[in-house]
């Protein structure tokens, strides 16, 4: 056991810290379009500096570094109060693990360089926690261009769909198979005729969600990721990464909230009496517990293993810590964020979403109880 950086890790951390200081935007614009563009520029800058896809294999455009580098990236970005890194490991790893060589060559470079934006079409109005209940159908048909899937149905809560040019779509293609066995994963261009994307405004006023409607959209059968009927397995693997707090940059996001709050207390911009100081210390204790837990998770992947059901422990922990920080941040800031709606309220609503998306807190608890602790299914 050694928490200290190896010489290579220490050098990377030092360079990263200096680079962030030099390059990170001090704040993001308030207006949403400008904000999305600024965030994308930040992600592009990270890519150009060689600071994204750190742990992704070299042959597909990553840096091929050990998993703990993702923990280092998140720690340093969070400590600097910089915007979070791009959330993509769930999608890129799905293509890496299940794609054909051609699909990897076609898609991974654009994803890793943050030039081609993707969304993930999983949830439906009647398939949220019960994901295997999805009804969006793909019917295999012959077209002049070869075999294709004709897609009908509806997705919802599709994050970033309005800005995405591709969608990783979970749909039902094997109509005689039982629920989990009948799903497949399809790589769908969002500009396909018959795809209609309608934005949903979030509780905090942004447009990062959408409903996506499919009305006879045709997608070549060659766009299938993995084999027909393999969709559930791919989705579970993908969710393992999506639930990993360092895989998708969540821990950097919530560390940022606490870093900024602590700085405001030190400088006197936010006043804190004994009760508030204690609350702030409790939040720091929880954040450190999360960061250390993530270092442990990432060390556990040193042998190249992929996330298992233990990832749900990480998701539950990050949720708990994020919601604690969400409360402490608002408690200490008092009237200011209530009088003037802004980032603190957005961070608060985001912290509430954390226990819903990527599998609700209740689903994560089921997984931990049944698949980690071995309790019987009801």
């Amino acid at each position: 056991m050694d928490f200290r950086d190896s010489p290579d890790e220490a050098e990377f951390r030092a360079r990263l810290r200096a680079w962030i200081l030099e390059n990170a935007p001090a704040s993001l614009p308030v207006e949403e379009g400008a904000r999305v563009r600024a965030l994308n520029e930040w992600h592009r800058a990270l890519y150009i500096a060689g600071l994204t896809a750190l742990t992704f294999p070299v042959e597909y455009g990553g840096r091929g570094l050990p998993s703990v580098y993702d923990a280092i990236l998140n720690d340093e970005i969070g400590a600097a109060g910089a915007p979070p890194p791009p959330a993509m490991a769930h999608l890129t790893n799905a293509i890496r693990l299940f794609g054909t060589e051609e699909q990897k060559q076609q898609h991974l470079p654009g994803m890793l360089s943050c030039e081609v934006h993707w969304c993930q079409g999983f949830s439906e109005p009647n398939a949220g926690s019960d994901l295997a209940g999805i009804r969006t159908r793909g019917a295999l048909v012959d077209t002049s261009a070869g075999p294709a899937y004709r897609i009908d149905g509806q997705k919802i809560w599709t994050s970033e769909a309005v800005w995405a040019s591709w969608c990783m779509l979970l749909l039902r293609t094997e109509h005689d198979a039982p629920a989990h066995k009948g799903l497949s994963m399809l790589l769908l261009p969002m500009d396909t005729p018959g795809v209609d994307c309608r934005e949903i405004v979030t509780a905090y006023g942004t447009r990062e969600f959408a409903e996506v409607f499919f009305d006879g959209a045709l997608v070549p059968a060659a766009n299938l990721l993995g084999a027909p009927g393999q969709g559930w397995a791919i989705a579970m693997q993908l969710l393992g990464y999506e639930r990993g707090p360092a895989d998708v940059g969540w821990v950097a996001r919530l560390a940022r909230t606490l870093t900024v709050l602590e700085e405001d207390v030190r400088s006197g911009r936010v006043t804190a009496g004994p009760v508030e100081r204690r609350a702030l210390a409790e939040a720091w204790v929880a954040l450190r517990a999360l960061q250390i837990h993530i270092q442990r998770t990432m060390s556990g992947r040193a042998d190249g293993s992929t996330p298992g059901p233990e990832g749900s422990i990480d998701k539950l922990l990050v949720t708990e810590v994020e919601q604690l920080i969400g409360h402490v941040n608002l408690d200490l800031r008092g009237a200011a964020p209530i009088i003037q709606d802004g980032d603190d309220i957005a961070a608060y609503f985001w912290s509430r979403a954390q226990s819903i998306f990527g599998g609700t807190r209740q689903i994560q608890r089921n997984i931990v109880a049944q698949r980690v602790l071995g309790l019987p299914r009801g």
């Binding site: 050694d2 928490f3 517990a289 270092q295 060390s299 608890r365 980690v372």
Partner: protein
């Protein structure tokens, strides 16, 4: 960075686990008030666990903070009464830090002289000369170490001191008066030595809490797998499963923080080691109360009986939490360290 148990550490865990099983408390029948806290002392000497973390030059085991924590965790998991924390780690550690001489230490490492620490009446820190204190984990111990006004280590004889009727029936607390003029055994501890000793103490207490949590969750999960109501195991109900899942999250996050603190106790400078230890002690103290209470709820009525071991785990967690400061005490110290002021 490699946050995992190395193979040599796993060997130590295996040894400690075997010892913990041999020294496990499996029934409340032999514990106070009916029986006495078994001293279970010789096995600690035979395995080299007394003075495990002391340097080789003084005859210690040259083990790390992590080694000591892993042993403490295993012993707590089986609710062993072996006085490892007080007489294996803290007493010998403070003796060496305070400049205890070779003969005294040799007798300690041979198991003939048994030394623990005396805490002040709040249990938040070491007892001071001229005040009443509490000898911690004192079953069979000959002396307890405290500090004089200058911060030098003094020894208080435990012979004929009264035992408290402590909440934790797996460990003995004795009432001591530290004489105002007690003779120092060496020069005053410097600020670094003091911080490093406190970091080690907080880390092993955190490890004890992790062990208690682990034993509690194992017992609760085993019970709800077997206990049938409404024709099914109660562990198949989500209401019960979610209690267990939350306890598992608390346990795993505690484990990581405890590892980090135990590692930091040796590897970071004294101030950072102490901050890491405060973080772990705060997290584990808070988590442990939740986890043992969850265990009580999962076990149901039997947890409220004397016969069942559940209350013994709750009791041990209560003492661990308070010693060297519970989470609230740690939050205050952390706020001072991180935010300045007080």
């Amino acid at each position: 960075m490699d946050v995992s148990i190395r193979p040599d550490q796993q060997l130590l865990v295996d040894t400690a686990s075997r010892l913990a099983t041999a020294l496990a408390t499996t029934t409340t029948a032999g514990l106070p008030p009916a029986g006495d806290v078994s001293e279970a002392w010789r096995p600690l000497i035979e395995t080299g666990f007394v003075g495990l973390h002391l340097p080789e030059r003084v005859g210690g085991g040259a083990g790390s903070g992590v080694d000591v924590a892993l042993v403490a965790q295993q012993l707590a998991r089986s609710i062993s009464t072996a006085p490892f924390l007080g007489q294996g780690v803290l007493g010998p550690g403070l003796l060496v830090a305070g400049g205890g001489d070779g003969d005294e230490l040799a007798a300690v490492l041979a198991g003939e002289r048994r030394v623990t620490v005396a805490l002040d009446a709040s249990l938040r820190g070491l007892a001071r000369a001229g005040s009443a204190g509490v000898a911690f984990d004192a079953a069979g111990a000959h002396v307890a170490l405290a500090l004089d006004r200058r911060g030098a280590v003094v020894a208080v004889d435990l012979q004929d001191t009264p035992a408290h009727r402590s909440v934790d029936i797996t460990r003995v607390l004795r009432a001591v008066d530290v004489p105002p003029d007690a003779a120092a055994i060496g020069p005053p501890l410097g600020p670094d030595s003091t911080a490093r000793f406190e970091a080690l103490a907080l880390s092993v207490l955190a490890a004890d809490l992790v062990g208690v949590m682990e034993g509690a969750l194992d017992a609760a999960v085993a019970y709800v797998r077997d206990r049938v109501q409404f024709g099914v195991p109660v562990g198949s109900f989500q209401a019960v499963q979610h209690l267990a899942a939350d306890a598992k999250v608390a346990l795993e996050a505690s484990r990581g923080s405890m590892w980090h603190a135990a590692w930091a106790a040796d590897e970071l400078d004294a101030a950072d080691a102490l901050l890491a230890a405060r973080q772990a002690k705060a997290y584990c103290s808070s988590a442990a109360r939740t986890v043992v209470e969850t265990m009580v709820q999962m076990l149901g009525g039997i947890a409220i009986t004397w016969e069942e071991l559940a209350h013994v785990r709750v009791r041990r967690a209560m003492l661990d939490r308070v010693c060297f400061g519970d989470e609230h005490a740690q939050y205050d110290a952390i706020a001072s360290a991180r935010l300045g002021g007080s």
